[in-house]
Amino acid sequence: MTAGLNNYLVLSAVLFSIGLYGALSRKNAVVVLMCVEIMLNAANLSLVAFSRFVTPVALSGQTVAIFSITAAAAEVAVGLAVVIALYRQRGTVDVNDINLLKW
């Protein structure tokens, strides 16, 4: 079976859904960050797949993917710094215990 655009898009949707499930259902804040990274990677995969199959010469999708990778790197740096600050303050990274802003 030839791997076409639809194969890559379905794989990207599957990876995104696994990441979504993990981000909503895990207790550990670091694992939640990891699942967000999986979701960003799934989006990058579909961007590159579109770039390969829809605009193979112009490479516009890959340009967007470069900016998306930059944003992901900034996000994980700030996210982990927040997790470390939380661990210093509260001694836990369990998202169920970090509910100070919960109404």
């Binding site: 794989l11 207790k27 470390i84």
Partner: protein, 162 residues
């Protein structure tokens, strides 16, 4: 033919790594599953003839982000049994499956304008022209640089000891 086999093998590896992230009990295995997922996505970029992005993926995701996450895991207690589900497990599963079904249905029912042209290889010089040439995305590159600097300063000021 070889690219098809590579796609299926890498797709199974990427899904396995992602499933390991959400299901492994030990936090360390979670991180290793994440590395497996990132590496197979880098391989998938190579099968899509995106050589520059494949190398960037290995350098940034596997080299920097995964190492950063493993460092953060070392800080938390009970690494062995740290990856527990919260009370939202069933709604999360339902919403994940609903999203997967909806997006796959939309993707398969859209007629994409697939082009039959041969892809550009190597991509690095074309991407460089797109980003830095006249009429390119130089402003976006500058803004991304400012974003990275702001994230760097923000991360240092959030994580340092008061």
């Amino acid at each position: 033919m070889g690219i098809n086999i590579a796609f299926w093998v890498l797709a199974v590896l990427a899904a396995t790594g992602a499933l390991a992230v959400v299901s492994a009990r030990s936090l360390f295995r979670t991180a290793l599953g994440l590395v497996l997922c990132f590496l197979s996505i880098a391989g998938l970029f190579f099968t899509l003839s995106a050589d520059f992005l494949g190398i960037v993926q290995v350098l940034i995701y596997v080299g920097a982000i995964a190492v950063l996450l493993i460092m953060a895991i070392m800080l938390t207690r009970d690494v062995e049994k740290g990856n527990l589900p919260s009370t939202l497990k069933i709604p999360a599963l339902v919403s994940g499956l609903a999203f997967a079904g909806l997006s796959v249905w939309v993707m398969l029912n859209t007629s994409w304008q697939v082009s039959s042209e041969a892809p550009t290889t190597p991509t690095a010089s074309t991407l460089g022209n797109l980003l830095f040439d006249q009429g390119g995305l130089v402003l976006g590159v500058e803004i991304a640089a400012m974003l990275l600097l702001a994230a760097l300063i923000g991360a240092i000021s959030a994580a340092r000891e008061k």
